[in-house]
Structures are given as structure tokens and as C-alpha cells.
Amino acid sequence: MYVALHNLLHDRLRFALNVLGVALAVMLVLFLLGLEQGLRLQVTAYLRQAPGSIAVTQAGVDSFGGGSSLLPPGLEEDLRQVPGVAKVVPVLTQTAIFDLHDKKIFAFLIGYDPALGGGPWRIGEGREPRERGEVVFDRVLARLHGVRVGDTVEVQGQKFPVVGLSEGTASWMTALVFVRKADLESYLLTPGLSSLALVTPAPGVAPEALRARLKGLPGVEVWLKSELIESDLRLYQAFFKPVRLMSLIAFLVGTLVVGLVIYSATVERQREYGVLKALGARNARLYGLVLAQALAVAALGSLSGILLGFAAARLVLALRPQILVALEPGVVGLTLLTGLFMALLAAWLPARLVAGLAPAEVFRR
């Protein structure tokens, strides 16, 4: 290992530049993985936080965020009659366009009954809606558009007083805005209708068993909530794919950087590797030397890249708070593994070069 380090540190400026190159690639990988994870968390935030473990949608609707669902009238009562159902929370949803400072802003309205739940899970400021027309606005959306508690926002000519600001409800597409279900019914002219029913099984009743019982209800689709989350994620695959492609490109760039660093370092010291081979070093030992160099560059580059990734995520949060870059331990772990894989891949070609050296060449000049 010390030979590898001496080889690398012989030219410190070049070593630093090499580490920086890897760090930038790793930062990009981490940032993009975090961005994808953030997108996933944002598009599934409501379902993950909403009460119950079973979700009922209109028949043929296979997503919460992407489909328009209207449940048959009276379904909530039917659901409550099924043995094993402890609680039913109906919600009505609709995409709406707010007029904020002469700008049209998309938001996802969620109409819920504050007495039953299904509303904001964390209120940073203010309170839940109690009176007619009151709304809880997403805090990030509010900050971006200068909306404060006590202000009034307008949707298609109707005014809604803002009584609270919710947290964890921001989104790069459509932030969540909560309103009383009765008010949304009135606004949409759909009295008594719901888009989704969230069902909590009674204690001791398995969600899968309850779902089987509910499947017989007409005109609806019954999901385990986790299945509906997966279904929503499949719907957003189209958004994730470009991010993944960019992650892959960043990974390839990183691998190329480490590969070029190690390859050029190996070619430069080709004769020295030949000398070691002539003196009696086995190929395995020389592979180890090449790999140690690749690992050292990749390890330092990865650690620096992760620090840079966190800094970039903070910067994005400050500049574009609606974009979530979720650098969770799993994402960081995956990035470290990516760095390790970069090193292994990058060491492969130089290792082959070393393996092909003829020890007798050491006597040739």
C-alpha cells in the first residue's frame, strides 16, 4: 500500500487534480441519486403520511397523484359496514391553479375532514382549517410566493384565506394545499363525493385479509397503500429515467477519470512494474499495487465528492426549496459503492497492462 501511496503522492498537484476530478463525478452521482430519491419521496409523501393501510380508488384508476378518481356515492358507509374496518377517511382531490402575483401556480388540493384526518401531518405555522374556505398552504410554496398566514389566495375567482402553513408537502411539480372537504365539494360542485377512501383495519385484522373482503365492493379498486405508492412511482418513471441516465453518465465519467489516472500512472511507471516483476514480484502483488492506487484515488475522491454533494444539496435547497435532494444513508452508501465499483473497473485495464509485461524487457534499453 505504501508503494501505491508513494507513487500517487510523487506528483502532489496531479494527485490533487485527479482526486478533484473523481470528487466532482461522485458529487454528481450523489446529487442525482439524491434528486431521484427526493422526487420519489415528494410524489409519495401524501400516501406515506395519510392514515390507514388500505386505499380505495375508483375502478380502473391505478394512481393517487396521476389519475382522476371519483368513488361511488355512499361508499364510505358501505366500507364502514364491512367487518374488520376500524376507520374510513374520505378525501377529495383536485389539481388547481392559483393566481399568485399574476402568476399561475399549480397545486394539488386535498379536501379532508379535520375531524377524521387525512390532512397536513405537520403544521409549521398557524392551524388546520376550521371555517368555510380556509386553506393550509405548503410552506415552501408560500415562501416562494410571499404568502403568509392571514393572506388570501385566489383560485378561479374564489378567495381562500390562508390559516396555516404545512411542512413536508412541497413538490417540484405540484405542492399540496389542504382545504376542508366540504369546501372543496362545494367548489367542484361534487357534493358528497370522494376521490379516495383511506381505510384502517381493526386491531388484529391483517390489511391483506381486509383488502380481500373489500374487493367485492362494486365500482372500486382496493389497494394496499404500499401497492398504490408503488403504482404511483411507476407512473413517474418517465421523470426518473433522465435522472438515472444522468447518474449513469456521471458514473461513467467518474470511472473514466479514475481509469485515466491509474492507466497513465501505470503506463508512466510501466518500466518500474517490469523491474518489480523481474525482481520477483508476482502478478497478484502488482495487481494489488494498481488496485490500491485506484482505491486510494477513488476513496479520497468519493469522500470529497460526498462532502461536495451535501454542499450542493444545501445550495439547491436555498435556491430552489421546492426541489428535494434526499441524501439519505442509503443514497450515500450507494454512492460509496459506486466509488468502489469505479475503482475496480478503472483498475482492470491497467492491471491487464501490468500482467502483460515481460520481465525480460527490463534488460532492454
Binding site: 508503494v3 523481474a278 520477483g280 514480484a281
Partner: protein
């Protein structure tokens, strides 16, 4: 210095052929040789005579096409490829013309790494390397990088590296070629000391006729075969060793001078006083 174990190299009917059919080149033809413990054997010969090929085969770096190489009773030519690195590591010490030190490592680490390759722990390897380098007068240069050492010092580090695993045989390829006259003599004396005091066999391949002074035996290799030792001279212009019988010659101030080619002769004749002290 320590007393070392004796070693004898026996080579019988050794040949090396490159390629096959009409394009085959016979680099070494049926060479036989024996080197006793403590003996210094110098192999000389013109360029392309097969010296490097022979040295590579003797050092287990290149497999012979035919023949037998025996070192310390171990028949190298019959060993599998996988065993040769260990043999090179423990039974041979290599000294190269270009020193071939690892540029990123200090003098101490350049020597210690070879002991580590042979299985010695880092601390013990460095202790042994330190002792050897101090013995060779490099105690003050232990932590210098090769680029900070003179040619003579580099060659002494290379000799220490060759000795660190206490090999039976030292193989030296043009050990004085990149050194000035003073350091060349110093290296020659050192190799002689190693042979005579430690009982190691030393086999040197060189063009440098000065090495004849320390050699116990001089062999002439030509066209891949050992031939009768020629009468040699040094080209006063380029320093190459040449056979008097085959060389281009010139007379100046009553003395004969021998050259490797007409170009050197003409350069000499254009200003002989510049080369006047050369060996005739």
C-alpha cells in the same frame, strides 16, 4: 561483512531461438558455462551477440528453447513458470545499467521492498535495508529519492537491493555503463568485494573492458556462441570495446588506435590530441 552460502551456476548446452521457420533467429547457440562460488565472470561481445538473451535466461527471466540451467542444485530450466518469480526473488540479485530504482521510493524503501516481497515484515525489511545501505556508505542518503542521488549512489542502492535477499548469484548488466570513470571503478571494486568477501558468484555482461581487471574469467560471446577470447581495445571516441582483428585502425604518434566504425576513426583523425590518452 557476513559469510554467505556458496553457490554454483551450471549451464549446459543452452540455446534460445526466437520465431520459427525461415524467420527464426537463433540468439544463443549451445552455450555451456560454470560459475564457482566467489567467482566473477565477465561476458563480453559485440552488440547483438546474444549477451542480453543469455543473461535473461540465466536470471530465470526468459525460458530457454533448449538446455539446462542449474543453480545451487536447483534445475531452473525445469521449473514451472509459476515458481520462477520466487526463484528470482531469493536466488538472484539483479544489477542494471539504468539502475532501475523506483522513482517514488526513497533509497531505503527501494531496498526494503524487495525484502518485503520475499516475505519479510516491513520493520525487519527496513532494518535489513538500512544495515546494507550503511555498509555500502549510504547511511546519510537513506531517505533520498533516486533523483536526489548521484549515478554512483544509485548504483550502490541497486547493489544493496540486489543483495538484500542474500542471493547466491549476482547478475549485472552493464553495471558501469552509466557511470563516470570514478564511480565505475568504485562499482567494480564493490562487486569484487562482494564476490571475494561474501563468496557470491557474480556474472557481468558488459562492453566495458575495464571490468576485465576485476574479473576472474572473461568470456567472449559472438553470434550466440562463446568463442576464443579476442584481443580487445577500446574505441577512443565512443568508448566501445572492439576486437583488434576486426576493427578499423589508425596510427598516431607511433601508436595504433582501434575504432568501432569509420565515423569514429574520422572523428579521431580530425583532432587526435583530444583522444590521445585513450587505451590503445
Amino acid at each position: 561483512m557476513r559469510t554467505e552460502r556458496a553457490a554454483t551456476l551450471r549451464v549446459q548446452n543452452l540455446s534460445k531461438r526466437y520465431g520459427s521457420g525461415e524467420t527464426a533467429v537463433q540468439a544463443v547457440k549451445g552455450v555451456s558455462l560454470e560459475v564457482s562460488p566467489g567467482e566473477i565472470v565477465l561476458i563480453m561481445g559485440p552488440s547483438g551477440s546474444g549477451k542480453t538473451t543469455l543473461l535473461s535466461m540465466l536470471g530465470a527471466l526468459l525460458r530457454p528453447t533448449e538446455g539446462r540451467i542449474e543453480l545451487d542444485g536447483l534445475v531452473l530450466s525445469e521449473l514451472s513458470e509459476g515458481r520462477l518469480p520466487d526463484i528470482r526473488l531469493r536466488h538472484f540479485g539483479f544489477v542494471f545499467q539504468d539502475f532501475n530504482l523506483l522513482s517514488a521510493l526513497s533509497a531505503l524503501d527501494n531496498v526494503a521492498i524487495v525484502a518485503e516481497l520475499a516475505g519479510l515484515g516491513r520493520k525487519a525489511a527496513r532494518a535489513r535495508a538500512r544495515a546494507l545501505l550503511e555498509e555500502l556508505g549510504l547511511g546519510a542518503r537513506l531517505h533520498f529519492l533516486p533523483e536526489q542521488l548521484s549515478g554512483g549512489e544509485k548504483q550502490r542502492v541497486a547493489i544493496a537491493r540486489a543483495l538484500v535477499n542474500e542471493p547466491a548469484l549476482l547478475l549485472a548488466d552493464e553495471p558501469t555503463a552509466n557511470l563516470d570513470s570514478h564511480h565505475g571503478h568504485e562499482t567494480m571494486r564493490l562487486l569484487r568485494r562482494i564476490a571475494k568477501e561474501q563468496g557470491k558468484s557474480v556474472l557481468i555482461v558488459s562492453h566495458d573492458a575495464r571490468i576485465q581487471d576485476i574479473a576472474d574469467r572473461v568470456l567472449w560471446l559472438e553470434d550466440g556462441e562463446f568463442k576464443e577470447m579476442r584481443s580487445l581495445a577500446t574505441d577512443p571516441v565512443c568508448g566501445m570495446t572492439v576486437e583488434r582483428e576486426k576493427a578499423v585502425s589508425a596510427q598516431w604518434e607511433g601508436k595504433s588506435y582501434y575504432f568501432c566504425c569509420r565515423g569514429c576513426r574520422e572523428e579521431f583523425l580530425a583532432g587526435p590530441q583530444r583522444f590521445g590518452k585513450a587505451t590503445t
